[in-house]
Subunit: 368 residues, 2 copies
Amino acid sequence: MPISSSTSPAVIRLAIDCMGGDHGPSVTLPATQAFLAAHPEAEVVLVGLPEALQAAAQWPRCHLLAASEVVSMDDSVEVALRRKKDSSMRVAIAQVKQGADVVVQAHACVSAGNTGALMAVARYVLKTLEGIDRPAIAAVLPNQLNGFTTVLDLGANVDCTAEHLLQFAVMGSALVAAVDGKENPSVGLLNIGEEAIKGSETIKRAGELLRAADAAGHMNFYGNVEGNDIFKGTTDLVVCDGFVGNVALKTAEGVAAMVYNIIKEEFTRNAFTRLAAVAAMPMLKRFKARVDHRRYSGGALLGLRGLVFKAHGSSDAFAFEQALNRAYDAARNHLLERVHDRILSTLSSMPASAADETPQTVKVATAA
Amino acid sequence: MPISSSTSPAVIRLAIDCMGGDHGPSVTLPATQAFLAAHPEAEVVLVGLPEALQAAAQWPRCHLLAASEVVSMDDSVEVALRRKKDSSMRVAIAQVKQGADVVVQAHACVSAGNTGALMAVARYVLKTLEGIDRPAIAAVLPNQLNGFTTVLDLGANVDCTAEHLLQFAVMGSALVAAVDGKENPSVGLLNIGEEAIKGSETIKRAGELLRAADAAGHMNFYGNVEGNDIFKGTTDLVVCDGFVGNVALKTAEGVAAMVYNIIKEEFTRNAFTRLAAVAAMPMLKRFKARVDHRRYSGGALLGLRGLVFKAHGSSDAFAFEQALNRAYDAARNHLLERVHDRILSTLSSMPASAADETPQTVKVATAA
């Protein structure tokens, strides 16, 4: 059922892995219901074990697609790729592929399943886009400007070359343009100082490539940024390798959790502090809402020939719905085409050496 | 004036760079005064421009040592090393060296001067310890257990081998043992997952070396930890390369600053919230005190043939005094000998390949 013939261009259809995440259908189904209610022009393809999908049998704008297996949160990449070929995760991803294997064509896929498995299966099923050597995971973190900073890569790529970092910057710029509506987002290169001479050889070379892309008018490169700039909101986008990005993300989560626990401890210390907590409750609630990680649930897997979004494994219905919203916005604003166009125009303006080092061919996992 | 002849072993003498940091003598002198009052058996060597030291001319247990130059917070490593050979920073460091150039022998040096210059000058003047290839910077971050987690390296070394990470673990263990009194501190290797198969080749190899050191009884290796474990207090010590450590530190500072600013905004929104803030003030103050970065001021430069401690450039007198306290504790508890003994016994038990890859000779900057 190709999209062009069966639906008007205004309809966006999401393929949803209903079994993914810590809570499965008890979270994904209510989230989907809320999403459908808020988006009258959206459709969904619910993928899961037949018995899990029964509750949605009568829902409007909802296609049900049975899968016989579930990728658990602990399954290795190998198990997800080779042993569970009819998993809800894989079937959902397959619906965003153009062409074969597609039962109900969708514009984007959303799963709360385990990240490693999701990336591996998505990469195997969809392949990477032309000009992209490695897909990356992007997510948003709250900043002091009451907005969000998009950061990538967050763990898909442990060792990166300067060319990979350039590709991340291009893909991230397309994401921010599509989802946040900023056509020319500013890009920061995560480093250990602002000066161009700081950092490893890879980082310095990445800085040169980003400056060249900026000079050629393909990017809005701000320069080096440091870890705290993510939360200051210095740039719209922060680019780093997956190891550093993952450490930064987990560090931020760790500080936030510690702060939350200390505040809770201090306010529940005795009768007086509990009373003060009542007075302070509205402010504490607003504070919590502003840094609520559920608001920025929904990492994007970028660089694939299809849109895949990842909700946090521990997502509740609110968080999962935010991931659906982001996938919907990305599809509606043609993220896939934006990434494709940007990467080709950027690479075309690069010095020959950079282009040479960036394989144009698709690299695919050899499994399954 | 060698220590052994002029003072009883119970006396600890600190060499203090009075000119370092954003505020210079206006911070370092009051901090020194408070430190001396709290430690009746301590002595100090105050190093700085003669006019800056006049205020301390009559202080007891205080030697004044003139320097004709000051390393500014913006000075490059080259300027600090080659052009300002009579800087207060360099003269202060020289006092912890055994032997030549020493006017008043000290047990440890403290400076709030710029980190790059401090490390470069300290490395040049003191040289590295036997068995240590690269010095590292260690600092403590607050954790949820109402304690501290020691993290290194925090920026001295951008690219690290597995052997360097092992050396950091050994030096950090000695630091925690000397300063925090934990004889067998647990060590975590910062990674992007708990499983031993996670991370880059360097990290995996470092994990092997750390497990071998643990098996040989030279270390208490916990295993891989993630960014959030720093703040959970999962291990006493977290080891990483300087790039990752610096990003984690700046990220933590960024989240903390954002949280602080958001709480402030929410509590100053209107008359009602200001009133609530009054009620909540004791708890907010306690919260602030628990995460106060001044309490954990005082990074240690480890792996040198002398003890050097770094206070934050923006230190106020309280923060600078904490750095003096840490330097004092380290000297009193023989940190230098502990690092030396631990590194030699650990290396002696390593497989031949690891020992081979760890140069035993001293590497020195070629400047000055």
